[in-house]
């Protein structure tokens, strides 16, 4: 046992500089959003915007499309994450790099790529047309664009979370006679839960803010493909700065609402965004 007092960290110039830099960056990240929402609330444009058809239909479209994208992300992303986490095969690192690629692609590049694949004159355009399916300029296109750019966040996080589950637990369950599905539901998912939830939140947030790929691939039409980020941009381009600020504030508040709600209803454990791989 130490007889004297252990010198505590937190005193001296080093500590103050660290805190100073942290504070400055915190301001940089937080102030723009605070100013945005503050301005929209103070000059009443937020209240007015919530009454306009354009904003309300864009908000509804944003919320429904991101919800569907999330379902698709989990339905297809979880199997992919499982395969990547559990099976090592030749070229698996290449597959991982390709799956991560949409994260670093500029959104408009993503939109262009989707157009070249699924557009009318795209690679799959002919076959899709024969089946009577036309994707560009539809709400489906919005969902696909969102899923393309946002799913990699979930897959990455899920992959890391699943890989981190101790195989011993799974082996023990197998010995006790659990089927693979039971094992997945009762062991893997709960133990990887933090990473899975963090990935879901990141993925949803990215989908909500998606703009470049949407306007490239899905187009811009009120009620069908005009999500809230497109309204923000469109109003600004059209000179309605107040409308743009109000739509942006609504986007911020919607995102904040979900982030807070997820923290509050945290499925029995604390959501830790730092667990994102």
């Amino acid at each position: 046992m130490a007889a004297g007092r252990v010198p505590r960290a937190g005193h001296g110039w080093g500590s103050w500089s660290l805190v100073g830099v942290a504070g400055l960056f915190g301001l940089f990240l937080g102030l723009p959003v605070v100013v945005l929402v503050g301005r929209a609330v103070v000059d009443g444009s937020l209240a007015r915007a919530l009454g306009t058809q354009v904003v309300l239909s864009a908000l509804a479209l944003s919320l429904t499309t991101t919800a569907v994208s999330l379902v698709l992300t989990v339905a297809f992303g979880l199997p992919l994450a499982l395969v990547l986490a559990r099976r090592t095969f030749r070229g698996s690192s290449w597959v991982e790099a390709i799956v991560d690629l949409p994260i670093v692609l500029p959104p408009s590049v993503a939109g262009l790529a989707l157009l070249l694949l699924l557009g009318r004159r795209g690679l799959l355009g002919g076959p899709l047309d024969a089946l009577g399916i036309e994707i560009p300029f539809t709400t489906l296109a919005v969902i696909l664009a969102q899923t393309f750019v946002a799913a990699p966040y979930f897959v990455r996080s899920a992959r890391t979370g699943i890989a981190g589950v101790d195989r011993d637990f799974e082996d023990a369950a197998r010995v006790d006679g659990a089927s693979e599905l039971q094992l997945f539901r009762s062991i893997t998912v709960p133990l990887a839960g933090t990473a899975l939830s963090a990935g879901l939140v990141m993925s949803w947030a990215r989908a909500l803010g998606e703009f470049g790929a949407t306007i490239m691939f899905a187009g811009n039409l009120a009620g069908q493909t005009q999500t809230l980020p497109l309204v923000v941009y469109g109003e600004f381009q059209g000179g309605d700065l107040d409308g743009s600020i109000a739509a942006a504030a609504i986007l911020v508040l919607a995102a904040l609402g979900v982030l807070v709600a997820v923290r509050v209803l945290h499925w029995g454990r604390v959501l830790d965004l730092r667990s994102l791989g």
Partner: protein, 281 residues
């Protein structure tokens, strides 16, 4: 640790607030001396002009830039194109443009009305509209009346983009022509599947074959090699007037005025004409 963080954030906020209120008088002090040194040796001074121009002017201005820079050594032009309405909004928000070249006169007029323009509007070009279709013309558009056929995917531009105002007028004019259905305008509107940010994006989508048709400027159709045109009857066509204005906050007022005058003068007009632009009406 946490209370220190709060204290330092508060202190930083106070310092930043003080800095921002004190910052405004500072830049104006060195500016007069810089202007004086420019005026003293005009031949040696290098001027960089930032031109905000309508998307339909892109190709013509590229050629104009080469010509102007050759005729005026020391001056360089930086061209930025987008929808005229978007550019006007950016200038209102303080974007550092010297000249606004708009596809209409309404947007420069907004700058004049807000006291952000130096001098009056100079009309420097005219344009007409046409219908473009992908080279293969998959929807078989033969006349502008086909724009109302059910199932046609029309690509339009956003509501505030100048081409949309002209196109709406064109559609209204066409509806009064013999051979056009009475509800032509409504059917055209129902066929619009996307409202792009500017006219260049409309051209791009048609070039890609994603849309069946779009109403754009004659000059856009001329510049693009991947679209075919469907002629619009002259009686219904809408003449577009392009207006330019110098931005009051420009640090290069004389150079900006000179460029705008050059564009409206014989040299500039010759270059614009080679791209299909008309003299201003």
């Amino acid at each position: 640790m946490r209370s220190r963080l709060v204290t330092s954030i508060a202190a930083l906020a106070v310092v930043l607030a003080a800095c921002s209120s004190g910052a405004t008088p500072a830049p104006s002090a060195p500016a007069p001396s810089a202007a004086a040194s420019v005026a003293a040796s005009p031949a040696a001074a290098s001027v960089n002009l930032t031109i905000y121009a309508a998307a339909s002017l892109k190709a013509a201005l590229a050629k104009a830039t080469t010509a102007y820079e050759a005729a005026n050594p020391g001056t360089t032009l930086a061209i930025s194109t987008d929808s005229s309405a978007a550019l006007e909004t950016k200038i209102e928000q303080g974007a550092p443009a010297d000249v606004l070249l708009s596809a209409d006169t309404a947007n420069p007029q907004k700058l004049v009305d807000k006291g952000l323009a130096a001098g009056s509007i100079t009309k420097f070009a005219g344009n007409l509209l046409t219908v473009i279709v992908p080279m293969a013309n998959p929807a078989g558009i033969q006349t502008p009346a086909d724009l109302a056929k059910p199932g046609i995917k029309v690509i339009a531009a956003g509501d505030t983009v100048p081409i949309t105002k002209y196109a709406t007028q064109l559609v209204a004019n066409l509806a009064k022509q013999p051979g056009y259905p009475a509800d032509f305008a409504a059917r055209y509107t129902a066929n619009v599947v996307s409202k792009e940010e500017n006219v260049a994006a409309v051209v791009a989508k048609i070039e890609l074959g994603e849309g069946d048709a779009g109403i754009v400027y004659v000059t856009d159709a001329k510049t693009s090699t991947k679209v075919a045109t469907v002629a619009v009857p002259d009686a219904a066509n809408v003449p577009a007037t392009y207006g330019g204005v110098v931005v009051k906050a420009s640090p290069n007022l004389a150079a900006a005025q000179a460029f705008l005058a050059w564009l409206a003068g014989p040299d500039g007009q010759a270059i614009l004409a080679s791209f299909g632009f008309l003299p201003p009406s």
